[in-house]
Symmetry: C2
Subunit: 385 residues, 2 copies
């Protein structure tokens, strides 16, 4: 028997072809392509298909995939009726887990998910992946209206994934630069090797559960405060700091108290998170485009990062992807409790790629336990306890 390592830290749980991190050099790659190149040249649609299929699509493959994604944007009125029965005070991640789980009830699973072997019904896998991915953005956007008592905005077929999401969310065509920033944010969050939510995908997929149920499980894992949700906390932190001149005092106080500076540091990277560098550039582009007329918290963020760089860079702690994404989402009119749902929309592409990979060479997860409880003992009648 292997050693017991809490949290299975460092224990390989899968062989994967999907993404890789070089933490020393600060490289994240999807299917071999560095994230910088994808952020610069690709779209969320293309990146999602790259993650699923393992290679960059041809023009006609991408057109077909995009068309399918548009067609599957429509949400049934049953689902809308269901959502209207959910309490507006619930967390959007719980809503998303609920709705995604329910979608599986509308579609029958492939027969290949009934056998005990690997599933190789690639048409089913592809079409179901589209069905799920296409609906994630619309569901999140619909909830923003439904929880406020309004009818949702219908999707549009002439917009790309990111644009349609922002359109359904705000009811108006998005600013092109912000739409491109959302597109890049979706690319940046689409995949990140094996973390708790992706691991949840592997575990659930290995039972041959239907993919809606598998993605619902992953949404549950991502909803945990230790996993998703840091960008919401960055925004709260910046609001608490309030002005750039307060940044130094705040950071030094938190460090002295050995408390976390939200959005700083990532267990996988010894350098600055490559995704943070990309977002920072986009943020600067956005500030410039607006002639500096932006949320004053951007200046607070810059001041916090400057102080942190001075204090923490020598320890290999730099800003991570969450440090900027929340601020940018907030400029798009997105409330803070929806930040993690955007993470989930993006990561669904990676989760589905892992679902497919798991099915291609499946073995049910059944680790063991070290029993540390009571030895065998006899039942004691209630009168004698």
């Amino acid at each position: 028997m292997s050693d017991y390592l809490p949290g299975l830290a460092g224990v390989p749980a899968t062989k994967s072809n999907i993404s890789d991190i070089d933490g020393e050099k600060g490289i994240l790659s999807y299917r071999g392509y560095p994230i910088q190149e994808l952020a610069k040249n690709s779209t969320f649609e293309e990146t999602a298909l790259l993650l699923l299929d393992g290679r960059l699509p041809t023009k006609s493959e991408l057109a077909g995939f995009t068309q399918q994604l548009v067609a599957d944007r429509r949400i049934k009125y049953y689902t809308r009726g269901m959502m209207k029965n959910l309490p507006p005070t619930g967390h959007p991640m719980e809503m998303l887990q609920t709705v995604v789980a329910s979608l599986g009830m509308f579609y029958s699973a492939s027969d290949c998910l009934n056998g005990s072997d690997a599933c190789d019904d690639l048409d089913y896998i592809h079409n179901t992946s589209v069905k799920i991915l296409a609906r994630m953005g619309p569901i999140v956007a619909m909830w923003e209206h439904i929880r406020n008592g309004y009818d949702p905005v219908q999707p549009r077929a002439d917009l790309n994934y990111a644009e349609n999401f922002l359109y359904m969310l705000n009811g108006e065509e998005p600013d092109p630069l912000l739409a491109r920033i959302m597109d890049v944010c979706l690319i940046l969050h689409a995949e990140h090797t094996i973390n708790a939510s992706t691991f949840a995908v592997l575990v659930n997929a290995s039972t041959l559960a239907n993919p809606y149920s598998v993605i619902a499980a992953a949404i549950g894992a991502l909803s945990g405060p230790l996993h998703g949700g840091a960008n919401q906390k960055v925004l709260q932190m910046l609001e608490e700091i309030g002005t750039p001149d307060q940044a130094e005092e705040y950071v030094d106080r938190r460090l002295a108290e050995k408390k976390v500076i939200w959005g700083m540091g990532h267990r996988e990277y010894k350098t600055k998170d490559p995704r943070a560098i990309i977002l920072q550039e986009l943020m600067n582009e956005f500030i410039e485009a607006r002639g500096g007329d932006v949320n004053p918290l951007f200046e607070v963020a810059k001041a916090v990062e400057e102080v942190c760089e001075d204090r923490l860079a020598k320890k290999g702690v730099y800003a991570n992807v969450d440090f900027y994404s929340g601020l940018l989402y907030s400029e798009m009119g997105i409330p803070a409790d929806q930040f993690t749902t955007i993470f989930a929309i993006a990561r669904t592409a990676g989760w589905l790629a892992h679902w497919r990979e798991q099915l291609s060479d499946n073995r049910i997860f059944r680790p063991t336990q070290i029993y540390a409880g009571e030895p065998l003992r006899n039942y004691v009648p209630i009168e004698e306890r």
Copy 2:
């Protein structure tokens, strides 16, 4: 780095005090108490509290717990409204995952699930465990009516868990012997160390996700054909065999084809599954009480087991708990596609115990991967692909 073991087979993923299996001797124990003694002396309510708290309750503890379970049987009309928007053709396990995930939206989580340390808010953990466990049976029973287009039956406060479940399912007070058999079935399925669904609990709980979302993830894992669902297949097999005299031919043909005999064998036991022995006794008691006037499939089951014992016992393959449970559920008027939901109702007790144990000494699950994909490569413009 550890070796890569597909499915983490044999890799310890937790230290646990909850249950233990001695596969050589055929002993399953909850908190040290052998399953035989619990099946004989305990109730599902008492066994659930034993699993949660780690010790047999006093009279007043059990009374308090039972009272709470009764009070939490009521289901909000929002939930009913949501269920009415789910398609009747969907699998009940998908319905159950959906509804349990939604319940978390109605209740706020403890602050202790926001920190990065272990959660020790035992009142919250206890009360939430009751909230979830109490509603599992009623939700499953409600679905049986809703999917058929009828209003659900309201719960009754004067019945125990098993009785109330059967009452809500069939709209009439259950036969006392069948109610006791259901009670024992719930005890027998309440816990079984670390399998895929319980492991899903650990993974999701480790992110500090809310417990409704954790149990929803586990329901998803249990819904997989490789995990739950074997008792449904046993019933189909017995129906296919049809008469006792066909048993020998069927078994020998399946064995010659190297195919599974459903309900036979269990990876954890080298002897007969102790739970199968208990169910077999109850089955015989039931047949006797009915003066033999029972479903003819009981005789088919006996014949199949006799042939299997002759052919397979020398290989350590015996009937498991699934071999008899489906037949008995069917006598209670439960359709085959609801068998796995009953498994989920029972196992919720164990899942909640594991949720609590994980929080008491938490570390987020983050195993690693072996990257076997493409090396770094440059993005290729779409025209050049």
